[in-house]
Symmetry: C2
Subunit: 380 residues, 2 copies
């Protein structure tokens, strides 16, 4: 018998009832039934993003909505600050470059969070910077960037927006779009939303919509103005991934039922339990500051080998954890706890980690990780 | 009890075994298991498209791949011929315009097929035209365009490619990509592939890849060169709609098992049965020439009303047929027979049509449509 477990930061584990809901006979996307579903989805996304603005939905991975943010808000030759503290920060830079945006990188050591002061200085020095691109969680490092503080800075600049990739963030910890003046917030389906990949979401502030009005970059599939018009009629411009939208209604219902505060508290508890367990095993977090509640990136000692332990997780326990990407490759494993995860899921993955480490000759007290996690979990 | 039936040209009816396959526990897209699945999918797509070239896969509606065709092959100021004989021909024109392509429209009466001679003349007159955009089936009218003949013309021009939207075409009738020298062929998941919407596909000839090399338009999510590199490693550049890809493997298996020739013959039979039934009822086809085997567009007499009969199909029989789009709105209904449809499915929809027409006061011999359809079906 082989049981399998996903502890990767996207795709994450999926509730079976949602999967079965998506297996029901498909409906047509121009029917009234779909419009009712999509209306509920729109309301649910507003709740999730904590915004009164429309949250646009696209059939694509999160990267599609990221590209949409660039080509709908900016114009050729515009300047943008890009926080590059990992693979996904670099992605913002790549997209900007493709569209002829002048990228001013703020390079951050992988594992560290950006200092908002640096952004304030850059914007003071060059007020012609149109946008600051960053992540809520840099998924490649497990670090949370201080988006609230950055938004306080961009909030004072009439001609600069903050654009947040919150693909790994929305539904994990508090990201109140409107209250924090976040101009653009992007997310995707395969993270905290407990769905398969295939849908992306993006919310825009009034200020961001003013940017959209004057943008001169080409867009068609990811045309925000067109999609807003469609959404207001409870429609999608192009044929949407209908089954995923039906699943989305279910997952948004689950989130509303649990309540955002409880959802955030659950993620906080699971994340703390995981971090304390890792430390109790004598291992270090890759995020030297501001570790995200979405995932825990763990430095793996060279004598163990991150790739080897990652492979063994799968072979011996059917568990998928993520390895490191690009410059973190072979150095870390990443254990996700965003979405459909409960207390005992974390006990499982920590126990597996302990058994693997012991087999691989790492010196520590067997059971110490689980004990530390339990200590956190019962404090709840 | 309410049974529902989809006779819309996308989404189409889905085999329940595929739906349940997609409801199995999700796997991670960087695992070996996914790579094996994707390798099989790549081979199956090659079979379906009848090409030795790579068929790229994107998580998007078909329109995403259409946009990709424009921004990966052309450069600002390039000229393109666009066959506009319906809503989707117009879409090619819209996408081109967004990207600063000089559009030379060939406007075709809705319901008619383009005359390849016109295209030959245009290309002779202006050899600087870089691309001819057309449809295999114009879904809004039910007409099949002569793509083989157009490709014979573009095949003689070293600097002009044919770009075929075969979203409603691939897997319905014979479109041998390589044999016909089709440079670019686009398709999507929610038609003959018997899947939910969310995946698009695109195949490119060597000539088309040369165009890609020198294209100067911006692209990121739909970057063909990058996606080719990923595909060669049995990977997707960005997180794919994993569950849909798993379903795709199943539907490609079904198609290979039935065999392309048998698939085409089945669609031909169902289409002929439908057309003969419609004519036996005294109704006219909207496609005055080259009706496609993918769907049958039927003119609805004004005294009946296309919108009314479309609504009644749904209310009385749980059947979704499509209405007309744009200038065909209120004038036609469109009955699809592409994908997961058998002989008796067509009998059902024709019988429903008869009963509705009779109720609505239309004069004809009850049973005449079904009889005509049966006549075609038993001739098989």
């Amino acid at each position: 018998m082989e049981k399998k477990y996903l502890f990767s930061p996207g795709p994450t584990m999926l509730p079976q009832d949602i999967m079965l809901k998506m297996a029901e006979p498909i409906i047509h996307h121009r029917e009234d039934e779909y419009k009712r579903i999509f209306q509920e989805v729109r309301e649910g996304l507003g709740y999730l993003f904590q915004t009164k603005s429309e949250v646009l939905l696209f059939t694509s991975s999160g990267t599609g909505a990221m590209e949409g943010a660039v080509c709908n808000l900016l114009s050729p030759g515009d300047k943008a600050l890009v926080v590059r503290g990992g693979k996904f920060g670099e992605r913002w830079g790549e997209i900007c470059q493709v569209y002829g945006i002048e990228v001013k990188p703020i390079d951050v050591e992988w594992g560290e969070a950006v200092d908002p002061e640096l952004i304030a200085e850059c914007l003071k020095e060059d007020p012609s910077i149109r946008a600051v691109f960053t992540q809520a969680t840099e998924t490649s490092t497990g670090v949370m960037h201080p988006i609230k503080e950055i938004a306080e800075i961009t909030g004072t600049c009439e001609e600069t927006v903050i654009v947040v990739d919150a693909i790994t963030g929305i539904g994990v910890f508090d990201i109140p779009t409107d209250a924090w003046n976040l101009d653009v917030v992007v997310s995707g389906s395969q993270k905290a939303l407990m769905l398969p990949p295939g849908l992306s979401f993006i919310a825009l502030s009034e200020k961001a919509w003013r940017f959209v009005e004057r943008s001169k970059l080409p867009k068609y599939y990811f045309d925000f103005k067109q999609e807003l018009k469609s959404a207001e009629k409870n429609q999608n411009t192009f044929t949407p991934a209908i089954t995923l939208v039906i699943g989305l209604r279910e997952s948004l219902r689950k989130i509303r039922q649990e309540g955002l505060e409880a959802v955030f508290a659950r993620h906080d508890l699971l994340a703390r339990a995981t971090r304390e367990a890792v430390k109790a095993l004598g291992l270090e977090l890759f995020a030297t500051e501001s570790p995200s509640n979405a995932l825990t990136a763990v430095k793996v000692p060279d004598e163990i080998g991150a790739n080897e332990i990652k492979d063994r997780f799968f072979e011996e326990f059917g568990i998928t954890v993520a390895g490191g990407q690009d410059r973190a490759k072979g150095k870390i494993i990443r254990i996700a706890h965003l979405g459909y995860y409960g207390h005992l899921d974390m006990i499982m993955v920590i126990s597996a980690l302990e058994m693997l480490l012991k087999e691989m000759g790492y010196q520590f007290e067997l059971g110490a990780g689980v004990r530390a996690a339990e200590g956190v979990l019962i404090s709840h």
